[in-house]
């Protein structure tokens, strides 16, 4: 049996306060290669904390997190950063595109850090943009794109580094229903190509597309059908 992409075992995350706030409480989660998982829950339920830990942006207070079979909790800052850059593609609610750079430059940013050859970078960016249906907007600046187009560029940037996990934080939170549909269709397509996708959302429409749904409430995960 191959290694799961994500394997959380007994993960807790406490924030120092009086009394301490326990944002995640003994979380155990396994996501296999090719899974499409939606994490749903109201605000304040620990969604963001879970996302930060999954994205190696934060460390759990206790427990174990294995990404592609690599135990991450013992890694030092630099190694976690390299792992993050190589294995995880982020998609944010607010896109996080650099306003002064073209679409192609924004996508190519994914290869700036890490051991990627400069040769053929533009071609790879074009390929990633084609994959999300944005091949015709290469020289545009983000401020001339619609919200849906911007999110697709951001997804292209996430795909550029060929991650083993696409981590999406409310990817449709800033989009209207038509653009939401387009992005969700894109996720379905990527999923069918074998990409592992984990979406954090509070919208039922988004979670409906996922094969697996996990509800989070008060830091506790419960699997839903």
């Amino acid at each position: 049996m191959p290694e799961p992409v994500i394997e959380l075992t007994g993960v807790c995350r406490e924030f120092p306060a009086d009394p301490p706030v326990r944002a995640l409480d003994d979380v155990t989660l396994r996501v296999d290669h090719g899974d499409y998982v939606a994490i749903i829950g109201p605000s304040g339920s620990g969604k963001s904390t879970l996302l930060n830990i999954l994205g190696l942006l934060d460390r759990p207070s206790s427990g174990s997190y294995r990404l592609d079979g690599i135990e991450t909790t013992a890694l030092r800052d630099g190694a976690r950063t390299r792992l993050r850059g190589a294995r995880i593609g982020f998609v944010f609610q607010s896109f996080h595109l650099l306003p002064h750079r073209t679409v192609a430059e924004n996508v190519m940013l994914a290869e700036v850090y890490g051991q990627h050859p400069r040769r053929g970078r533009l071609a790879r960016a074009e390929q990633a943009l084609e994959q999300v249906g944005m091949g015709h907007r290469i020289g545009f600046r983000p401020d001339r794109l619609s919200g849906g187009e911007r999110q697709r560029v951001a997804i292209a940037r996430a795909l550029m580094a060929r991650p083993s996990l696409l981590l999406c934080d409310e990817p449709t939170g800033n989009l209207d229903s038509r653009n939401t549909e387009a992005v969700l269709d894109l996720f379905d397509g990527l999923r069918s190509q074998g990409l592992t996708i984990l979406v954090i959302t509070h919208e039922d429409e988004v979670s409906a597309h996922a094969k697996r749904r996990v509800r989070i409430g008060d830091g506790i995960l419960t699997e839903q059908g």
Partner: protein
């Protein structure tokens, strides 16, 4: 991270806000311009001063012989002996006193009550090599020589102005001047003196005639040296002239060229150097401020870069390079403006602009250094940011 990627990211970061970046460079531009102008003008002016006086001043040594003792400290022959010193081109012994400086000289001995016939002129006894030492030129006639001295001929040579005052222009009728009711034949008129120009209004007499005017002893020795020999000759001359009384002779030597240049620079530099440094510090504070503001604006970008795998050092390097680039730009503009200013000032004053090439090259580097130092703290702040906080 590839160094070319780092360069491209920093350049793009700087050019993203061109107006802000341009304004940020202003402080550095001012500072570097002031420094380059200050140093350039000082070097230019210093070289002009030295250049103008070099040739004559740097080869003139004068030895003053005090007259308070009964015996002669320096003999008339000693000056000629000086020539045996290596580096001496010519040497002339002079004698002049307060009394001899105000003698009435007339061109004839007629007493014409209707006009003032006499001129008050200085009579100076000088050895025959005076034309060589003063670099003078005989306008007409000749200078007296050893023969005149040996025979004790009553001859004089007039300075150019003295001749004009006495109305003597031609010598073919062997004109005479009368001093203390005694006649002396004028055998030459000397002009174009470059050293001791005051002698142009004097009556020069051979040392043998000196006693007529109370000029028995040498009061001054003029020495013309080769370039660069003045300092050495100034030390050796008293010993050669009067070995027993070296301490009593006063030697006037030219300041060494190096000191002249330093002096000129010191005068101009001080204040403006401080001004330039202050501008640089203000520029650095400006860069630090703007970089800090920029970083606060770009928190989300920093978070994104961290999410894309940028290590803290990558973030720090990018912002350091951005601030250094701003400093470098300021340095390049400042150095250019400063150089142009130096050339313009030199052109207006009809000087030759002198600018150390190292200064022109170092100025942009100083600008970059200022930017680098100014960027240290902001870059550290950016690198310390936690990605979780930055992405929030």
């Amino acid at each position: 991270m590839n160094i070319r990627d780092l360069w491209a990211e920093s350049l793009a970061g700087m050019l993203a806000r061109p107006v802000r970046s341009a304004l940020t460079t202003l402080g550095t531009v001012l500072g570097i311009t002031t420094l380059v102008v200050t140093m350039g003008i000082a070097a230019t002016a210093g070289n002009q001063i030295v250049g103008r006086f070099d040739e004559l001043l740097a080869t003139s040594v004068t030895v003053e012989v005090p007259q308070n003792s009964r015996q002669a400290l320096v003999s008339w022959e000693a000056a000629a002996e000086l020539r045996r010193l290596r580096g001496v081109v010519s040497a002339t012994a002079l004698a002049q006193s307060d009394k001899s400086s105000n003698l009435v000289v007339t061109a004839n001995n007629l007493l014409d009550p209707t006009q003032v016939a006499g001129q008050t002129l200085a009579v100076v006894a000088a050895t025959p090599d005076l034309p060589a030492t003063t670099r003078g030129r005989l306008l007409t006639g000749r200078f007296y020589d050893a023969g005149h001295l040996t025979r004790g001929d009553r001859v004089v040579v007039l300075g150019e102005q003295a001749a004009a005052m006495l109305g003597i222009t031609r010598l073919d009728h062997a004109p005479a001047v009368f001093i203390n009711d005694r006649a002396y034949t004028v055998i030459g008129i000397i002009g174009g003196l470059q050293r001791e120009q005051i002698l142009a209004s004097a009556v020069l007499v051979p040392p043998t005639l000196g006693p007529d005017f109370g000029l028995k002893n040498v009061t001054r020795v003029l020495v013309g040296t080769q370039l660069g020999a003045a300092e050495l000759i100034a030390r050796q001359a008293p010993l050669a002239l009067s070995p027993n009384h070296t301490g009593e002779l006063q030697v006037i030597a030219p300041p060494s060229p190096k000191r002249a240049r330093d002096g000129a620079q010191d005068d101009v530099n001080g204040l403006f150097l401080i001004l330039g440094l202050v501008s640089l510090i203000v520029g650095a504070v400006g860069i630090a401020n703007v970089t800090l503001v920029t970083i606060m604006e770009r928190v989300a970008e920093i978070g994104l870069r961290r999410a894309l795998g940028a290590a803290r050092r990558h973030i720090a390097a990018q912002f350091l390079l951005e601030s250094s680039l701003i400093g470098l730009t300021g340095g390049v503009i400042g150095a250019s403006l400063g150089t142009v200013a130096v050339v313009v000032v030199a052109a207006v004053r009809q000087w030759t602009p002198v600018l150390d090439i190292r200064l022109a090259l170092a100025a942009p580097a100083v600008g970059a250094l200022v930017g680098l130092l100014a960027g240290l703290y902001p870059a550290l702040r950016a690198a310390r940011m936690e990605p979780v906080d930055a992405l929030r």
